[in-house]
């Protein structure tokens, strides 16, 4: 199964807002630093992600993209802007 949580590590500034926002508490800080020296978050269990999009919503640096398996539970869709 392909990933729900797609991370662009070069955009991340290690602010931790995604860690705080995840209702499933599956985003944690890793030990890895990115090119700019920011400590990056990581997802601990892709399978537990419910594709709610909260982490991506709060990320000020657009470092996270969220996908959902076709036919999966609809939460929020950026294409209709959640409107």
């Amino acid at each position: 199964m392909s990933k729900r949580w797609v991370f662009d590590e070069d955009r991340c500034k290690g602010c931790g807002l995604c860690v705080q926002a995840c209702p499933e508490e599956i985003i944690l800080f890793s030990d890895r630093l990115n090119r700019s020296g920011y400590r990056m978050p990581e997802i601990t269990a892709q399978d537990d992600c419910i594709s709610c999009g909260f982490c991506a919503r709060v990320c000020p640096d657009v470092a996270i993209e969220i996908y959902r398996p076709d036919g999966g539970r609809k939460t929020e869709n950026s294409r209709d802007g959640g409107r």
Binding site: K13, Y38, R57, R83
Partner: protein, 248 residues
């Protein structure tokens, strides 16, 4: 797999210069999403103000003018009066809009100038290093109010939405907050309405976004959003103050 959330097309690939956790980034993204949703990329003209968001022009895939401190609404007026079919928006901080540019915002609103204003209220002058802003809360420490803002000395903070809501030219006014995912979604809806108001030719639209400045507040990003929720939302109530068609 279907996209739930992807980077909006109207944002460039440039990584912003904002501090980690600064919600300027969130507000940018929301504006870009609305530009995408309403398919405005060919008509939108943004005005970057003076403040931390001065480089906004590097982050959006649309035409931009950079304006002198506080004058973005006047610049927007000039553009909109030349190209009424353009979709013109300013992006301004609270020092820019509520202090030095107070006259310009009030008069653009009074004229019912058909523009959209994205107003970032982070209760401080970010770019110049954390001085007191007109929006700084009573008791809040800033580099020019080291003991905390004293209302007897500096007055009490301006509530921009409430102030503008008395003007008949205003079509849409809302205050939203970026302190959590729910607030961000609501902010997105309001920004969408503020652009739609312009598309419908209804008049002046402004969205005030309560934001953070972790760097100058001396807090972690997470703490700063907590502070927005606990302190700013209390003084600056969220909600819509004017919607199109009201009071006509």
């Amino acid at each position: 797999m279907k996209a739930v959330y992807e980077k909006p097309k109207s944002l460039t690939d440039v990584v912003t210069h904002y501090c980690p956790g600064c919600t300027h980034g969130v507000a940018h993204r929301l504006v870009a999403e609305v530009i995408d949703d309403l398919k405005l990329e060919d008509r939108a003209v943004g005005i970057a103000s003076v403040g931390c968001s001065v480089f906004a022009y590097d982050y959006f895939e649309v035409d931009f003018q950079q304006a002198a401190h506080g004058r973005a609404p006047a610049v927007a007026t000039g553009i909109k009066r030349v190209h009424p079919d353009s979709v013109v928006f300013t992006y301004q901080g609270d020092g820019d809009l509520a202090s030095i540019g107070a006259a310009e915002i009030v008069h653009a609103a009074m004229r019912g100038e058909n523009i959209t204003v994205v107003f970032i209220n982070n209760a401080i002058y970010g770019m110049t290093g954390g001085q007191m802003a007109p929006t700084t809360l009573v008791g809040q420490k800033a580099s020019t109010s080291p003991a905390g803002r004293d209302p007897d000395h500096s007055g009490s903070p301006i509530r921009v939405c409430e102030m503008l809501s008395t003007l008949p030219g205003v079509a849409y006014l809302a205050r939203v907050s970026c302190h959590d995912a729910r607030g961000i979604m609501s902010a997105k809806r309001s920004i969408g309405k503020a652009f739609q108001t312009q598309l419908d030719g209804e008049g002046f639209a402004l969205v005030e976004i309560l934001s953070n400045c972790p760097t100058n507040w001396g807090m972690s990003p997470v703490e700063s959003l907590e502070w927005v929720k606990e302190h700013m939302v209390r003084y600056y109530p969220l909600g819509e103050f004017c919607t199109p068609g009201e009071g006509e």
